[in-house]
Symmetry: C3
């Protein structure tokens, strides 16, 4: 009887099951520095304590996506160590700001199960919550993932498909952004003259720059989150596997695209929610990532005059600049597209 | 007369000589973050201030091996810049916990010398001590290393071979672990259900996962420790040298194996002592490291009911999974084995 | 009308123009750790709070070159995104120590312009100042850079060439170094027995060691500074460009050479000023960097007995050891030389 944990398989899950995840993690300015070195984010609120204080934060908050990656990383050993593919997200929103010194924990509830017809795999729906040591919830999201069965002959653990919204209601946004003094928000220091009123629905923005990913970079990032998914780290195994090489963590692409989006969305300092997303194709070291965005919608927040919400669709590509906004190739996905992300950002009014 | 220091040669050492090492180093949460990004450690005590406090620590201590690497790094310019090989360790134990903000220093005493029969090299035995700015000793170990002579014709600086134990007595363990509240220790958050009583002598554990090492990763790690050993950094020279390429610092393998060992030894949160170790073969960038462990012994600590000690032998391999516990190939070492480490860990009872 | 910023072109600048740069940046011990991991600096004052305090600092200051890189990085989007080449520096001096927790900002004034005869490019001279959130100036320098015109037919924005000194007057040095207790400065802990009085004008020092640069390393470093110059990050574009590959940020070479210079200049703990510098040839990942230095001058500082100033010329090479102090090959630069830097360091008397 081995003491090594090989992760859960499809038939190990039950609807209603609650899973408390290991390893609690105190987030520090050290994590922030390393995240900056890996992605080069330039949003002023997260970069400068002085700037953050000038608009009403007690100090710079931790980058939203770093919070996500850490919470997500905790769920991997229990939820997706035996995953075939990460299929989707819904109801994904940030609930409270996180600051250096806060300790993050994660818990998941299994809210749906569906065995696939081949009986070799099934889909697991979990609602995961990240929370601080004092219980404050900082993030919640639903994720569904295709997981191997240990034994194809094992009976299905049940079938229940939860109803999930395609987008977050604007009334649910903003809990992780304290009231800010938008008059004190300095556009020049922030690096962009454009605020809520300057964006138009349907507007497309080419973020221009490209960044080439190295093996050391994505491995360091993914380990920083204590994400243990094997496919990112083990060339010996992956060299004999599906792609012949290590796969870059999908969240790495999201963070790269977010950092690139600064050029054109520099004042959109807070990711409030993610409506949905799709990893359209895999990314490997050596590829160069580009991105473009479209403004899908604009919304005022109830009882808030300080910030407004932009619903943004950001497309990331590999080895293809985005000056012509690549997306489809006839009916098919453009083969250069690797990410299609639909999310809400907050931006000063 | 150059001001550059080229390190000591065998004939420069004298038994009884004390060497205070440069450079004092304040350890910070920044070092912790980078160490985490490089190795992906998941032990809850070192990862979460909240968890550490819940069992009686004032905050998360610095990872034991990070303390070791920093202390070791200080000794390199004086002891092993002209080393042929690092031969062994003994009497290696941690003496006090280290916290962010502590400044580490190192001092070594030469306790043995033995010229080799070829007269070109000799073995230097040093007892090195790491201590804080206030004088608190945090780590001591004996290390012996084969060092070049500057001049084969130089007389031997004397011969004295110290007597060294093959393992640390269990009575000497635990000084670096404060009394903990093992009842408050949360197995689920820690990521493992297994405590002291659950391990059996002779038990073998395959740690399953593998991790591929990149040049940037081992260079960043080794520089973080201010370890100046040239063979790790200089492809121009090493390209013409023994291996044709840069050699990964042996301590890097130890940290990789320790991080991998979490899967199966997740509650063994503290390395109390190292009985001995051998770098069986060199590691290079591009190799994938695997590891397995055997429980060599179990011991209760005198006057402590909170934690027990496991004596563990961890074997690391390159480019070979450890499901069949590779070690020997007939009389020879299995050519995949790179590390054979014998050490004591503490684990809650 | 796109919201993406493509940087200024030569005809966008005006003499007398003031440019406040985005993104304010709080410097932390996390940045220090990552900088250490990337360069392996060993100067005791910057490495140990205890050491720094023992000589009169309130704590370890941030490495001077890290301050420079961060300030420089802020100027890139506005000044040099469309640069052909960085041509030179003058009047470059550090004005106040920077500590973890300080927030850095930058502002530049255009002090000179000169269109080139081909009318496709011009030279922009800017005086850039780095300052803390409370207004304290920490660094100033003049830099001139060749910038593309958007439109060769555009009229020149004027011509004015500022007069610039070839070296900083010694009376202007030392503002960023508080009075230190040179008696309390411990040579052994600092790692060098040589002080101000031990260096001679004309003395040459081979710093011996070499360090190979990896793509991940220079990318992480350059992003840490939020430097957005495209040529460092985008293999897709650069693969079709001038060099066929990504170019390492010139400041990376300066930091590598400074770290290497510890071996021979270990007590020269503070870079007080840079008289001038030239990136003689480009550096690429895979190259190994070596360095040597010559003492150009020595000077006492007015009203200070604690430290003296050495004017140092440091030459960095790629793939060529510096034991014979490579510099010229007849009339030409030695093709291995990549950096020729003339600067003032302070060292205890």
């Amino acid at each position: 009887m081995t003491k090594t944990f090989s992760g859960n398989f499809f038939e190990d899950f039950r609807v209603g099951q609650t899973i408390r995840h290991a390893t609690p993690r105190t987030v520090t300015t050290g994590d922030v520095a390393l995240y900056n070195g890996l992605f080069g984010a330039r949003f002023a609120v997260q970069s400068s304590d002085a700037f953050a204080k000038s608009i009403g934060y007690p100090q710079s908050p931790i980058d939203d996506l770093l919070v996500f990656h850490i919470v997500f990383g905790k769920t991997v050993p229990d939820i997706s160590l035996n995953a075939v593919a990460n299929l989707g997200y819904a109801n994904f929103r940030f609930l409270a700001p996180v600051y250096p010194g806060d300790t993050l924990n994660a818990v998941s509830e299994v809210i749906g199960l569906k065995e696939n017809s081949n009986r070799k795999t099934g889909i697991v729906f979990v609602r995961s919550v990240g929370y601080k040591a004092d219980g404050t919830q900082v993030l919640e999201y639903v994720r569904w993932v295709m997981v191997h069965k240990r034994d194809a002959a094992a009976p299905s653990p049940g079938e229940h498909i939860p109803r999930l919204p395609t987008a977050l209601d604007v009334n649910l946004l903003g809990d992780a952004c304290p009231p800010i003094d938008s008059g004190a928000y300095d556009n020049v220091l922030a690096g962009s003259p454009y605020r809520f009123g300057d964006y138009n629905v349907g507007e497309k923005i080419d973020h221009i720059d490209g960044v080439t990913v190295e093996e050391a970079e994505h491995q360091i990032a993914t380990r920083l989150y204590q994400n243990t998914a094997r496919i990112h780290f083990n060339q010996f195994n992956e060299g004999q596997g599906r792609f012949g090489r290590r796969l870059v963590y999908g969240g790495h692409v999201i963070s790269l695209a977010r950092a690139l989006s600064f050029n054109g969305l520099g004042n959109a300092f807070h990711v409030a929610a993610i409506n949905g997303g799709r990893h359209v194709a895999p990314l490997f070291a050596g590829n160069t990532v580009f991105a473009w965005s479209e403004i899908l919608a604009k919304a005022e927040l109830p009882r808030r005059n300080d910030v407004g919400a932009l619903r943004v669709r950001t497309i990331a590509t590999k080895d293809k600049p985005c000056n012509d906004f690549p997306l489809k190739n006839g009916e098919e996905d453009d083969p250069a597209v690797i990410l299609d992300l639909d999310y809400w950002v907050l931006i000063p009014r």
